[in-house]
Symmetry: C2
Subunit: 353 residues, 2 copies
């Protein structure tokens, strides 16, 4: 899932995302809650209509951003109080409030409100975070079940679409058949296998529409990421989406997909692109480097994306050096094409098994 | 002509420019001379190939940027010494050097090196500028005639094209038939009708491939712009392109075209877009304004561009408010569609006369 924090995948027009084959975008509840505001988006018919994106959307719970972006956080059993990173104003998220905001946004998939365990965290801290996450998952689910019919596109059954926009590809038939949103739970537990296992088992008992593994890619060594995924994945139902949050590098997403992970999101392809880092079949290129100044070969000789078919490394380097906005656009398009290409290839491989 | 200062129309991918119907782009000699350098661009096959733009290109002479962007300029009869706005390094442009740089860049149309008269300028100053411009036009033309065959695409007859790129629409058959570039002269003379007239007559005697009226839109009242164009235009050959530099607002470009002007360039549609100003059939919109925060109508209800067909005013406002790079892209696409739409309509009207 390309990340579209503020209801836009930075620097890329929607039509280009569609032609790249992006089926679903992740948008950030915390950012959209602050600006333009979830009530405003609801009044405008929900996030699909507001941003004019007819394909699937997922909103995170806001928890991760509250923990990573805000100052003066105060966590209680009830929820989190925090100050906005935009203007310092005071706000609070509880599980119920996060769900209300996500229902107002109206993405296809909403996420239960969790507490993301930092790394490193000792046993005591991980247990506390595990306890909160389970309690908040209960409350998220109860509130979601009581209010899920309030999503603005409940009546029509699918998120509103603009005329002339291509039909929505089904994402596992989630939400749309039920004429409402889906809710996923998030497995936490720090880097403790038994806590992870317990957390997964308890969440599965609650019967969510899908399951995510959170609190990974937060600074731990990669073997530990893999160990936690290997521990948790077999405990999650095979007939429901299994989602690893916040990963990863190209080889990681391929590895996890082959292990049975269905969904991932990461800012890496888009953020790296804005810092002139391209992922290619011949390795990572820092396209800013002087060695590319007269290199007329395509960014990735094996890639057929619109950037690699038209522009040279020398031209991309010139755009970066000149601080031209087109640099971010073209670099991002290529990186997304590369990531989505990996996923397409792996899906084909898996379909042949 | 959309302005593509650094070999890119800021924030817009080339394919989008093609689908908008842009036939020709203006690139700035001064900027490309400094970065990545004209020799580098020549080694890479010229500007068309470097930036992967198969349609027509025009380069200005560098004179205007030297006068507007650089510090410590020193003008002599020979040329101009100046310091780079990038790093303060010392450079000089003479008519011969400007032509050499433009031949290295290899645009379809090059411009004679001129001295742009500032506004206001008294008679004595305008006469001096007029004298220099005529002298430099002579030298530009002589040097161009001696070296025009050195353009990198001279052998092939047309600028190099990438495979699979749509064919180049002819721009008045200029350059391409001659298998080399065209050179246009620039009429100066401040706001003095007799100087303007004399300048035009002397330049026409020299027999350039086309003629531009420069030194307008430099701060003078609009009636004066119109007066100068009205004075000069009838003196320029009807069978050669007549180009007014650096204009203008939508109603201006329509007015001048109906008077017989064939070409114009202006940063207004692109620069205004980056400052959230949209030109529409219902007037200018500052899309940042709060009044648009929940306005779900298209930016311009009469426009069929890809922005107006898909996105709402509320969404564009959100992108601007959130400092998202997509704001510049979408706003620029609409403004260019609006400007190019005016030109298309006027061309159709004129074809029916």
């Amino acid at each position: 899932m390309p990340v579209g924090t503020q209801a836009t995948v930075k620097a890329v027009p929607h039509g280009t995302l569609e032609s790249l084959g992006a089926q679903i975008i992740l948008a950030n509840t915390y950012h959209l809650y602050l600006r333009p505001g979830h009530d405003s988006i609801r009044r405008m018919g929900g996030l699909h209509k507001f941003m004019s994106w007819p394909r699937a959307l997922l909103t995170d719970s806001g928890g991760f951003q509250v923990f990573s972006l805000t100052a003066l956080r105060k966590v209680t059993d009830d929820g989190v109080r925090f100050r906005s990173h935009l203007d310092g104003s005071s706000h609070s998220f509880t599980p119920e409030h996060s769900i209300d905001v996500q229902i107002a946004l109206g993405a296809d998939i909403a996420m239960a409100f969790d507490e993301c365990t930092e790394y490193p965290a000792d046993r005591r801290r991980a247990e506390e975070s595990f306890r909160l996450t389970l309690d908040w998952a209960h409350r998220s689910l109860a509130h979601f079940r009581a209010h899920r019919h309030e999503v603005v596109w409940h009546e029509s059954g699918v998120p509103p679409q603009e005329d002339g926009v291509p039909p929505v590809p089904p994402v596992w038939g989630l939400g749309r058949d039920d004429r409402t949103q889906s809710l996923f739970a998030i497995v936490q537990g720090g880097m403790f296998r038994d806590l992870r296992r317990q957390c997964a088992e308890r969440l599965v008992e609650m019967d969510f529409d899908g399951y995510a593994i959170g609190g990974l890619s937060v600074g731990e060594p990669r073997e530990l990421t893999l160990e936690m995924i290997s521990e948790v994945l077999p405990l999650l139902p095979r007939d429901k989406p299994r989602y690893v949050m916040g990963v990863g590098y190209p080889d990681e997403i391929e590895q996890y997909t082959r292990m049975g992970v269905d969904m991932m999101d990461c800012v890496l392809p888009t953020r790296a692109a804005r810092h002139a880092l391209l992922f290619t079949s011949v390795g990572r290129l820092n396209i800013k480097n002087k060695q590319y100044s007269e290199d007329q070969s395509p960014p990735d000789p094996a890639c057929r994306c619109l950037v690699c078919c038209r522009y040279s490394r020398a031209y991309l380097r010139h755009l970066v050096q000149s601080a031209e906005p087109l640099a971010a656009t073209l670099n991002t398009i290529h990186n997304l094409a590369y990531y989505l290409g990996i996923m397409r290839r792996v899906r084909q491989d898996l379909a042949q098994l």
